[in-house]
Symmetry: C2
Subunit: 342 residues, 2 copies
DNA sequence: ATGAAAGCGCTAACAT
DNA sequence: ATGTTAGCGCTTTCAT
């Protein structure tokens, strides 16, 4: 009779050991952990004590394998340093952890090939859901997600052809609204400062198209490399000045982010231009400093926290099995915030 | 003869199916994936083709369970919104993903009880390592990590009693260096603006102690609630002014973060105080905007990216089995950056 | 309300 | 260089 070989174990306390300690079957311990309602009070106490005494930490790897539920949700961000996504991510994390899910963060970066690897790595963990914050680089990646059958929520965008669920706002609407509103306020001379980021560019295009529809063309533009930064904003205004765009007329400078706009305000002061007297400035994002710049910055507010909460909720609904037949699409809109800068 | 019951499967392609498709044993497919060097060229190609044709995505949950290696590293941040940790996190993520590890982000927040839950959740995933960015709230949590036997690297701090490995810098040294250097530059009147954050406070205490040793006491302080913000910096300087601290003498205002310092610069301009003529300002962090403020901000640079890289490297070394007997401790230091603000 | 048996998808340990 | 066998730690399914 051959002695069975034993694999090297991790030395960690297992559910089995807890069960022996409590004098019950392993499945009972499992129930105490996952379905306490189905276990008698007395057994519950006994098992909980055994858990405490053994210092048991459940192995979710094993649990996930057995149940095909990883309780893991992957969130994909384009980059970590962009503070506009922080609120969204924070809200997602809070909502999901309250429901017993953990969040695995992936940064898609700027390289398409890196994105492929990232997706592979993410899907290998068998997440119960995926939340995209900003879209993916390639249509192939989007197709891959679609094929994976994992519930997906896209945010920070209103993709025309969503993978699955969608919670966002329209960058085109914002550009259009800016053109209309600023024209109505009496501005006739504009400039646009942006970075080469897909969503910001779409806002910019829509803004310029809106202006064109109002009969305004020849809008000076400065496009800076991503990411948007304070220093970049200063350079951009300087560049407009060197183009001669700041002489003779009062110009409304629309920026694709508050960070750029903050730099513009500072450079304006350095150039001796008064705001909003000689120059008006508009930002995007309503970041924490926007209300406190000198002068206070007019901007577009996106409720990133609400968006994150809504995205997480939508996912949780789906995971709970309440899958609506109609494809879920939520437009959270935006708010124009008018402060002293223009 | 009873028909064996079959469990509902996920419908995903399994390694087993790939093996059948390629006409090899499952373990061979596993080798192709994890140890391609041990497989003959011909077999390799055959299996890779089968993988491509079936659209196989490995299940790391199962792999981790079988091998006791999750290829997962947890990074714990105090909060997501603090940009000082971004570089560190980014560097950690890059270094670890290049080595085939994935990063699970946990945010410890400000509540100690939330931290307990977070640790439980993290340990349930059986991470191969944990990187702490900023320390934990309670000694109990630290003890828990120590007991878990998971390799831990602490960063952004030089804890006196490290859990395991350590890559950081000394907040006390910084405070001391600031006092010495600013005194040497001729400053004799100071103020301190901080937020109620443990590490910043330690820098502040050391700074004040350093000044005291030089015979300077009675340093006006403003402590604002965390997190540090631009608006907070403005309010803080205003508060110093209302205390009468800005009249008659040229004062060096040392801030616990660049964000606060930026607000101070703006408020100084709004109050009509010239910098560095009537007021000098020092920040902390050398954030992207620091070199571009008006005037450019003097500050303390911490190389967050290097810290992240070093932390990840230390962890990878350990995971590769090159565990040095001596406890690993690395002090990356800091740099005083002197610009126009003081 | 609790338990026994089987299996989730993979890899370690030994063969060959 | 490849295969066989057992088992990682848990949960599902069915039985009592």
């Amino acid at each position: 009779m051959k002695e069975p070989r034993t694999r090297q174990s991790t030395g960690q306390v297992t559910l089995m050991q807890v069960a022996r300690h409590a004098g019950v079957a392993p499945i009972t311990v499992s129930r105490v952990l996952n379905n306490p309602g189905t276990v008698r009070e007395r057994t519950l106490l006994k098992v909980r004590q055994a858990i405490a005494e053994t210092g048991y930490v459940p192995n979710l790897l094993a649990g996930a394998l057995a149940s095909s539920r990883s309780r893991l949700v992957s969130v994909i961000l384009p980059m970590l340093t962009n503070p506009v996504f922080s609120d969204t991510f924070q809200a997602i994390t809070e909502t999901l952890s309250a429901a017993g899910y953990q969040v695995l963060l992936g940064v898609s970066g700027i390289h398409a090939e890196r994105e492929e690897q990232l997706l592979e790595a993410i899907l290998s963990r068998r997440p119960d859901g995926i939340i995209l914050t900003g879209t993916l680089h390639t249509e192939a990646s989007r197709e891959r997600l679609r094929a994976s059958n994992v519930p997906v929520v896209e945010t920070w965008d209103l993709a025309p052809d969503p993978i699955d669920m969608l919670v966002g706002f329209s960058h085109e609407d914002i550009g259009q609204a800016l053109a209309t509103r600023l024209y109505a306020k009496g501005y006739r001379h504009f400039a646009f400062i942006g970075v080469d980021d897909p969503r910001g560019s779409r806002r910019g295009q829509a803004f310029l198209a809106g202006l064109a529809a109002l009969g305004i063309s020849a809008v000076p533009q400065v496009i800076r490399p991503a990411p948007a930064s304070f220093g970049s904003g200063r350079l951009a205004l300087r560049s407009l000045q060197e183009q001669g765009a700041l002489r003779g007329v009062r110009r409304m400078v629309v920026c694709t982010s508050d960070t750029l706009a903050h730099g513009v305000l500072t450079e304006a002061a350095a150039l001796g231009l008064t705001v909003p007297g000689e120059l008006a400035v508009m930002g995007f994002g309503d970041m924490d400093f926007a209300a406190h710049t000198h002068p206070a910055l007019s901007t577009v507010r996106i409720d990133g926290a609400s968006m994150g909460r809504a995205a997480a909720q939508a996912l949780l609904e789906r995971l709970a099995g309440n899958s609506p037949e109609a494809p879920m699409r939520l437009d959270l809109g935006f708010t124009l915030i008018e402060r002293a800068s223009g």
